[in-house]
């Protein structure tokens, strides 16, 4: 059976197509202002990659912030539920999943693909991808460079502002104080790792811990989080596709969708 999952994120839209339990195509596009259109184009592209047509799709499940925007999806689930499902498939021993997207960070405790407990950053915590993006812009480096820089630092600089926008000006004053860039980068990573870790602690995060979402591409962040939690962190392959994968898996297993709207 061919199923698909679509994860309509704030920043990026991801599609995964499964043939039974095998991933046969995946695509990522920028969400932009028309989540529905982004979803359509990601889906079309992914289907084309797999040499399939719409008609071959048995079921489609949507997730992510824009999950309600897809009339073609049979149902939708939240990212948290989808993450749990995908991790059970990829790494059944994982008990805690941390998912950091562009504007939201989540931590969930799971077993057998079920969510046992979860926590999401409350408004204003600003402990999400956008925080790093803002820092990158201020420092005039790319996200990839940021991630590499963080690993080079040894220092002890800290950022105190919770607010991403103000952390930006803190960064400016650190620059003035001639703090090496690597140290500032590390401070920024530590700041959000601290906030993300407290989410994980709120759900009573136990090993093994997996990190998913776009930020899991960032080794500097993984390092900061591992240090903060004092645990090793598993990063699945293609971490930003986990939500879409979970949705696609749930599409193939309609029982699991009971209760979803």
């Amino acid at each position: 059976m061919i199923t698909a999952g679509i994860d309509s994120g704030i920043k990026t839209t991801k599609v995964v197509i499964l043939n039974d339990d095998k991933i046969i195509a995946q695509r990522l596009v920028l969400t932009g202002w028309e989540p529905q259109q982004a979803g359509e184009s990601a889906l079309t592209a992914a289907l084309a990659d797999a040499r399939l047509s719409r008609a071959d799709l048995a079921r489609l499940v949507a997730t992510g912030a824009g999950r309600q925007a897809f009339p073609l999806a049979q149902s939708n689930v939240t990212e948290i539920t989808a993450d749990a499902r995908a991790l059970a498939f990829l790494h059944p021993t994982v008990r805690t999943v941390i998912d950091v997207g562009a504007e939201e960070a989540r931590a969930l405790k799971c077993a057998n693909g079920r969510v046992l407990d979860f926590a999401v950053n409350e408004k204003c915590a600003a402990g999400a991808g956008i925080f790093l993006e803002t820092m990158a812009r201020t420092l005039e480096v790319t996200l990839d460079e940021m991630s590499a820089l963080a690993l080079q630092a040894t220092g002890t600089a800290t950022l105190n502002s919770q607010c991403a926008v103000f952390a930006e000006s803190e960064v400016v004053s650190l620059i003035h104080a001639q703090t090496p860039i690597a140290e500032i980068v590390r401070a920024a990573h530590d700041a959000i790792a601290g906030r993300v870790a407290s989410l994980a602690r709120r759900v009573g995060g136990e090993p093994e811990i997996a990190l998913v979402g776009g930020i899991a591409r960032n080794v500097g962040f993984i390092d900061a989080l591992a240090r903060e939690l004092g645990m090793e962190i598993i990063v699945p392959r293609d971490p930003e596709f986990i939500g879409a994968l979970g949705a696609a898996l749930m599409a193939g297993d309609p029982v699991s969708l009971r209760g979803a709207s």
Partner: protein
């Protein structure tokens, strides 16, 4: 055996803990952002609660044999219970003192509550708190309070940062170490040069735990002429009577010392005290240094501000989280001082 007991508020009777053979130390928030406490406390609780719990959870308070709370605000009340759940084997107690200090029954109740606390200490640690030990401890703490008051009287010779250091060190060191002004200010050199141009301010708040504001005041050439902090002048403004029943005497001090906004003695006693501080010390203005999400102080701010307005005393409100952001704080304070010196 561990010989320190931590406490979170100056309404905790240090003398009793001391008489039981422990060194009472004030648990103060640190400057590192909390990452563990958020699993227990919501984002809308004050940073004092969050940071103190965070340090405990990070294992930085493992040398404490116990932690004692005093009933003050709703956050502390919740924190005490959370602490107990987080450290089930630790001695965690709350001295639930009276709120209505003006009640004719408050003294009797507090005495009974203090005796319950004594019994709890005795039972848990298998010690005896004798009257003689209590008397001795009272004398030691009174000596320290007098020394601090004496330092205070001469604080014009010291900078704001020195003032901060002296006060904060005092509440975490053995009381015997501070017996007179000199010992209070050891390692602190007098360092005031251009005294005459200085603007004098009174600081008001719950506690002051990190030196950003004093540093800014020093940089800008302002002087702290008086304060109303738990870990400032409110700590030593009243002594415990050295005669009579020691527990009764400790209770009597708690009921008569300068009130914190969690307690009630009279409707406007805090405003009256503040005006007196300003006038007696010829202050130019008042800086409220409040913690974000601290309800009791936020509640007292409007009436205190109104009282100052009536007397045309300028004031500034700073609401800070754990560490005051240097840039923002500096602009506010600097503009305030500019305003005072222009006026």
């Amino acid at each position: 055996m561990k010989n320190k007991i931590g406490y979170l508020c100056t309404y905790v009777p240090e003398e009793i803990i001391h008489a039981a053979g422990f060194l009472p130390v004030r648990i103060a928030p640190s400057t590192t952002p909390p990452t563990r406490a958020d699993a227990h406390l919501q984002s809308y609780t004050c940073c004092l609660a969050r940071s103190c719990l965070d340090q405990a959870l990070a294992g930085r308070l493992n040398d404490l044999a116990g932690v004692v709370f005093a009933h003050t605000c709703d956050t502390m009340q919740g924190l005490a219970d959370i602490w107990r759940e987080s450290f089930p084997n630790l001695f965690v107690e709350t001295v639930v003192g009276p709120v209505a200090l003006n009640s004719p029954h408050a003294q009797k109740y507090l005495v009974a509550e203090l005796r319950r606390f004594v019994a709890a200490l005795e039972q848990h640690f298998d010690v005896r708190v004798t009257e003689d030990a209590l008397r001795a401890s009272i004398r030691i703490y009174n000596t320290r309070r007098r020394a601090l008051a004496d330092f205070y009287a001469r604080r014009a010779e010291f900078s704001a940062v020195q003032w901060f250091n002296v006060m904060n060190k005092a509440l975490t060191t053995p009381p015997e170490a501070i017996s007179d002004r000199r010992s209070a200010t050891s390692n602190q050199q007098s360092a005031i040069e251009n005294q005459k141009s200085k603007i004098g301010v009174v600081l008001v708040g719950a506690t002051i735990d990190e030196p950003t504001l004093p540093q800014i005041l020093d940089d800008l050439g302002a002087r702290i002429v008086a304060d109303d902090f738990c870990n400032g002048a409110r700590y030593f403004d009243t002594l415990v009577a050295e005669e009579g029943d020691p527990i009764e005497a400790i209770a009597a001090r708690e009921l008569t010392r300068a009130t914190c906004p969690c307690k009630h003695r009279a409707l406007d006693d805090r405003a009256e005290r503040l005006l007196k501080l300003v006038k007696d010390n010829r202050a130019d203005g008042v800086i409220f240094y409040h913690k974000k999400f601290c309800d009791p102080h936020a509640w007292d701010y409007p009436p205190l501000a109104a009282a100052l307005d009536r007397e045309k005393i300028p004031h500034l409100l700073l609401e800070v989280e754990q560490v005051a952001p240097v840039g923002q704080t500096r602009v506010r304070v600097e503009a305030f001082l500019e305003m005072l010196s222009e006026g």
